[in-house]
């Protein structure tokens, strides 16, 4: 049970990281990303391929490479669509995640196809008891989350972050104010994608095994739900939201198991349905999330004589 809770905490941390990444893209800059799981997969595969399948880089180098590669992928996707309406970005990102899964499934020589990659190294895995490994990894993920959180806070309150939020609220006005909107959008998207890929790499090293069917669109829904439930625009919201989403996901596991007479496939269907429905309900009834972004507004001075 304790192991289970620690594992869930690790997953909450990973979703928290990805929600922070989405917050840079969607919460701060107002760009849609429906292909988050694609960037997560790019990160997970990059690090796994470099540390076990095609080379034996140390883990830290694999994770850094994963972050850079997914950042570049994000920059390319954003650069192509940044001038166009958000609808195109929605279509391209959704398509991107499908193509990543397709390539991972079919480039058998490169990625081992649908069999996936196993024996991905984890820090001290095999040298310590599994429970200790879990705790060590929780420490690593917590530290990573803290660092990324602080960086995102810095980003948000810096002049750079102010430009991003200005673009979100009105990109024409920002452009008139002399900001290179296209460059800011591309960079913000790349930063968000890099954070997502970083989390994906950490996921691979924790799980020791990755396969294409692990990177389905439902994961994107988890991440969007984490950010939306916590509060779009706020970094703390992204982290708290991720913890709540993991708790909810695991909660449904126990609740649905209590319903008598369901086949395994039906149990899975009910859980996926509940998670998708929860996102729709949150978007509808609590779009600002639990921790709404506060806008600093100054009271209009009373000028009546």
């Amino acid at each position: 049970m304790e192991n289970y809770l620690v594992a869930m905490a690790v997953f909450a941390g990973l979703y928290g990281l990805m929600a922070l990444g989405l917050n840079v893209i969607w919460g701060m800059t107002g760009m849609i990303n429906l292909g988050l799981v694609g960037f997560m997969a790019v990160g997970a595969y990059t690090s796994a391929l470099l540390t076990v399948r095609h080379a034996h880089w140390p883990m830290w180098a694999g994770v850094i490479a994963a972050t850079i590669v997914s950042g570049i992928a994000g920059a390319v996707v954003a650069r192509i669509t940044a001038r166009l309406k958000g609808d195109y970005l929605a279509i391209v990102t959704l398509g991107f995640s499908e193509v990543v899964r397709l390539v991972a499934s079919n480039e058998i020589r490169f990625t081992n196809g649908t069999d996936g990659i196993s024996a991905i190294p984890g820090p001290f895995r095999g040298e310590v008891a599994p429970a200790t490994f879990n705790l060590i990894y929780l420490g690593i993920v917590a530290a990573a989350l803290l660092v990324v959180y602080l960086l995102c806070q810095r980003l948000r309150h810096s002049p750079y972050g102010r430009v991003l939020r200005a673009i979100r609220d009105d990109d024409q006005v920002t452009s008139v104010a002399g900001k290179p909107v296209l460059r800011f959008k591309t960079e913000a998207f790349a930063i968000g994608a890099a954070i997502t890929g970083f989390a994906g790499a950490l996921y691979g090293h924790y799980n020791a095994y990755i396969a294409p069917e692990g990177f389905v669109p439902l994961i994107t829904i988890y991440i969007v739900l984490s950010l939306t439930a916590g509060g779009t625009g706020t970094n703390a919201g992204a982290v708290v939201g991720a913890a709540l989403v993991v708790a909810f996901m695991e909660g449904t596991r126990f609740v649905v198991a209590e319903i008598p007479g369901l086949a395994a496939v039906q149990v899975a269907a009910v859980r996926e349905f509940m998670i998708a429905a929860l996102l729709i309900l949150v978007l509808r009834y609590r779009p600002q999330g639990l921790f709404p972004e506060r806008h600093a507004r100054h009271a209009t001075p009373d000028t009546t004589p």
Binding site: L84, A90, F96, V99, A269, E272, A277, L279, R284
Partner: protein
């Protein structure tokens, strides 16, 4: 190499035309909804699957022939599409002018996963097939190449062409069709002329998702169906709509043909499992060089 290409070419082009003709229906549905409602309704994936299963129930469980089954494959997703837009997506589009359409796009992805799981709950993950008479393929000797055509393929393509002819007649000659085009073209001007945009929006969801459902069943007739049937086709449908020009109905047909034939021709150089990636590459190329697509208006 060259003689090999010449031998393969007629067959690939014929296959591409058949695939493109079938693909055109969901692409028209997607693009028509975009033209009127101004957001990408990603529930096309689950509504195509829903059409395939509605047709399956009519064909296998109720024992109906293919054409009446197609009617059910139109009606069920049409009503579901209308209900989804009315009760789930429309309220979200209204929350704010700036982020509303994007919130609706996100919700549509969640909704499509929800609907897919409803289908999975009822039918399970097993592959299912339609009850079809088995025909022998027609073979033609072209002198330099052999051509094989399945009667079922031809029947599917003819059904698709008939449905498309119906759609174009409706849009070109009926009062309601003209209203729909007016709203797609210029919503505020249409409003001044007294056209009720709400009614037109409902019609767009109804007819659009109905077409997507018919397309889903036609895709299923070719192979077998499972809860991911629609999701696997969705990238190709987006590609058809974007290549043709998002929001343009003739564009969706042209785009479907281009993508359908392109997918088949890619078999000359690529592995068959990469067929759907061709659609994505087409999207990227079009958005880089001509974002408004072949027949679209503007993309920014």
């Amino acid at each position: 190499m060259l003689s090999h290409v010449i031998e393969e070419l007629p067959q690939l082009i014929v296959n591409g035309l058949v695939v493109g003709t079938i693909l055109a229906l969901p692409a028209i549905g997607f693009t028509a909804i975009y033209a009127v409602l101004r957001f990408p309704n990603f529930t096309v994936a689950s509504h195509a699957t829903m059409g395939a299963y509605a047709g399956f129930v009519a064909n296998v469980w109720l024992g109906l022939p293919i054409v009446p089954s197609l009617a059910l494959a139109f009606i069920v997703p049409a009503l579901s599409g209308l209900a989804c837009d009315e009760y789930v997506l429309k309220p979200l589009r209204r929350t704010s002018a700036a982020t509303g359409p994007m919130a609706a796009a996100i919700a549509a992805v969640a909704l499509t996963i929800a609907l897919e799981n409803v289908i999975r709950f009822v039918f399970g993950n097993d592959l299912r097939g339609y009850d079809l008479p088995v025909y022998r393929d027609w073979r033609f000797d072209l002198g330099f190449a052999f051509l094989r055509v399945g009667p079922q393929q031809v029947e599917n393509a003819i059904i698709s062409v008939v449905v498309m002819a119906g759609v174009f007649t409706f849009l070109a000659f009926t009062r309601t069709g003209k209203m729909m085009r007016a709203v797609a073209d210029n919503p505020s001007l249409a409003g001044i002329k007294g056209i009720n945009a709400e009614t037109v929006a409902r019609l767009a969801s109804l007819i659009g998702m109905g077409l997507v459902g018919v397309g889903g069943m036609l895709l299923g007739l070719d192979t077998s169906i499972d809860p991911l049937t629609g999701f696997r086709a969705v990238l190709t449908v987006f590609a058809a709509a974007v290549v043709g020009g998002l929001g343009s109905i003739p564009g969706a047909v042209v785009g479907a043909m281009v993508v359908g034939i392109g997918e088949e021709l890619s078999l000359l150089v690529l592995d068959a499992s990469y067929r759907t990636a061709v659609g994505f590459i087409a999207i990227i190329v079009v958005l880089t060089f001509r974002p408004r697509g072949i027949l679209g208006e503007r993309a920014y």
